[in-house]
Symmetry: none
């Protein structure tokens, strides 16, 4: 079944705000999210705040972003297993890659690096 059956992120967020004892407009000031939207979220009129909104709220309420995402019914990264991906599985996920194609990729990567010897991959 679906995750978002009777998720009540609104009530949760409201309890967080009540605990902090701050007003909707205070949250608005700190997050940039309008008090109108905040009200709608807490009352359930907005069922699924955007990830960006949840991120801001997580920030000021001091709760994990992922938790809000989950409570909002968004898919959450399956963080448990399979994190270190093997190169083999990677190639597998690309579908059928022929030996020729793989060799061409290797060659191309070599070409890229010979042309771009400059250090890091920092973006």
């Amino acid at each position: 079944m679906d995750i978002d059956e009777k998720i009540n992120i609104g009530a949760y967020l409201k309890s967080l705000r009540d605990i902090k004892g701050i007003s909707l407009r205070e949250v608005e000031r700190k997050t940039g999210v309008s008090n109108a939207v905040l009200s709608q979220i807490e009352s359930g009129q907005v069922k699924r705040p955007s990830p960006g909104t949840l991120f801001k709220l997580a920030g000021i309420y001091g709760v994990p972003y992922e938790e809000l995402m989950q409570r909002a019914g968004y898919p959450v990264p399956a963080r448990q297993v399979g994190e270190p991906q093997s190169a083999q599985s990677v190639f597998n996920r690309l579908g059928s890659i022929s030996q020729d194609e793989e060799q061409q990729l290797l060659d191309y990567l070599a070409f890229l690096r010979s042309r771009n010897k400059r250090g890091g991959n920092r973006k």
Copy 2:
């Protein structure tokens, strides 16, 4: 200063699909996402697919959900800098490669395959 400056998740998704060599409707069948939306995403008309959509696409393309989220400009749970990024571990048989290099490889493979493609058209 928003994160989503020049995000091109569309091109990335298209390269993944090209690599797999499957059609939009094939992706539609496997994910339930309409080919219309898929086309719009890949062409950039839809800049920010919903997390749910990204999750489905990550599933069939075998790419980490988090990566698609990040490329779509969504906030992503804080991740350590040196963490083995899936995109890197992808080709780690070839040694560590950067995001940019991987993208270039994907593009190149897409190009290789586009030479003996079948069907499809362009308007």
